[in-house]
């Protein structure tokens, strides 16, 4: 670990590049732990209310669009793949490939957000936004069904805001990559961002079944 590129990026308070990289990795994992607790509060609220009002949740969850949800899940999994490939490209020093995969990740992420916007709009049209004008045609126990939609918007909204922050950082990474900042010896930002992106993906992997799938059988 003493290539000039790596050494150039070692900040003054670290002894060497290895120590710096270790610190970044641990730091990122700890950050993801805090993110887990952040979403954890919402998951806890979801489980408590689902347990209390199973019928309301079952009927309300049937209002989500399974097809759109499945499509978005696929898009997000693909973006995780392209992100993993981008990290690999950075590790082997293939600049063109790195940029290509980063752009692909950005496009897939944007596609996800676009579809999500459409879904929100759809909910808006159908008055399925909790609040004064909330309506839920065909929902059982609509007094409690609105809780499902409250949680739906809080959970997917928080998830989407993480995606937006991620997309912003991706643009920054693409610019950095174009400038040739990343080398096989030092591409920590790409690697750390990869962890973040996979984390968002995993959160969705839990959200999708909880919000879209779990009560389909109830019909």
């Amino acid at each position: 670990m003493s290539s000039p590129a790596a050494a150039a990026n070692v900040r003054h308070h670290f002894e060497n590049a290895e120590q710096q990289k270790d610190a970044s990795t641990i730091g990122m994992w700890i950050f993801l732990v805090t993110e887990l607790m952040f979403f954890g509060g919402l998951f806890m609220a979801y489980f408590v209310y689902r347990q209390a009002y199973p019928d309301a949740f079952a009927s309300a969850s049937n209002k989500t669009d399974l097809l759109i949800g499945a499509f978005n899940t696929t898009v997000l999994i693909c973006s995780s793949l392209t992100m993993a490939l981008a990290v690999n490209a950075a590790a082997v020093g293939k600049k063109a490939l790195l940029i290509m995969f980063l752009v692909a990740t950005l496009l897939l992420g944007s596609a996800f957000l676009g579809v999500k916007t459409y879904e929100y709009h759809d909910k808006w049209v159908h008055h399925e936004i909790p609040g004064q004008h909330f309506e839920c045609e065909g929902c059982k126990d609509s007094g409690h069904a609105s809780l499902f939609f409250s949680l739906y918007f809080a959970m997917t909204g928080l998830h989407a805001s993480h995606m937006i922050i991620g997309a912003g950082y991706l643009i920054f990474l693409i610019i950095q990559a174009k400038k040739g900042k990343f080398t096989p010896a030092w591409h920590t930002p790409v690697e750390m961002f990869g962890l973040y992106w996979h984390f968002i993906d995993i959160v969705w992997i839990f959200l999708f079944p909880l919000l879209y799938l779990i009560d389909r059988v109830h019909k």
Binding site: P54, D55, F134, K140, D141, S142, G143, H144
Partner: protein
Amino acid sequence: MQAKPFELFPDAASSIAGSVDGLYAYMVLVSAFFSLLIAVLIIYFAVKYRRKDDHVPLPVDEHSIGGMILEIVWSVIPLGLSLVMFAWGASIFFTESKPPADAMEVFVTGKQWMWKIQHNEGAREINELHIPINRDIKLTMTSEDVIHDFYVPAFRTKADVLPGKYTTEWFRPTKVGEYHIFCAEYCGTKHSGMIGTVYVMTEPDYNKWLAAGSGEGSMAEQGQALFNQLGCGNCHASAFNKNLGRCPNLNGLFGTTVDLKDGTKTRMDETYIRESVLYPQSKIVAGYDDIMPTFKGLVTEDGLLKLVEYVKSMGTKNGAQMSAPPLATETSATDAKTGTPAKAGAAKTSAAPAVNVNRPGNQ
């Protein structure tokens, strides 16, 4: 309530107060012992081992004074003493949490910033609670707005009063007198004004007080009037309707366990009745369709308590207590009686549910 002289210990006026004070005495003794032990040791060491000059003595090896043994001793002894506190406190708590079955029932509705109290016999009072001595009293409580807490220090007990559910609290007063009621859960601007007085009276005095009370009829009678006014009897069998088969017959149902449509069971209690009136679709009894409309916004918390009491009175299938004639409409009239704030409260409860308007024709 007359002013009291300066004192350092509260009145003990309930059956539970003695055991709470006993536990308190034990805890004060344990705490005083350890506080003094630590204080004396620190002062003694600070004086005895105070550095006299700049000479630094060679430190002692901690193992020479049995470090490990000491650590175990001062972990295990406090643990033992505190587990006694736990067990003692838990046993008092169990007594406090389980109202005796034959307790006299009183209904409490908290709202910003007053206590509305209804006696089973029909008497109503605001910020005052008259009760007889040496009788178990059970409060069934709910709130019209925010969280309150019904606290009587002289009885050493309190319980939160929540919107949207019923909580209970019980005590057995043992000393005639007047005692503070406080709201102990912060509830807004006039939180410190949400206070009142408990009057513990001798049995004859209490009966005299009851007799002088309002002639609105008992809680169950008022509930029955409301039941008819809301048209509940059109479907639910009551003394006046025969069971039409579309809705569960409420006679003799209270306190039983009913099977629900989704295969689970639930106990037919105060909370279930309340939930069924406000959210009829959430727990449907097996064998029935969800045809009941919600009464959210149409019935106040006071009214709900009366309905609950009426359904409870159907506990026995004997129609004796159903023979009371239907009374005039009660809901808004009784509220107006309690003074202007009650109106504001009623407006609030009817305004809030508008958020979730649930059409009767939802099926």
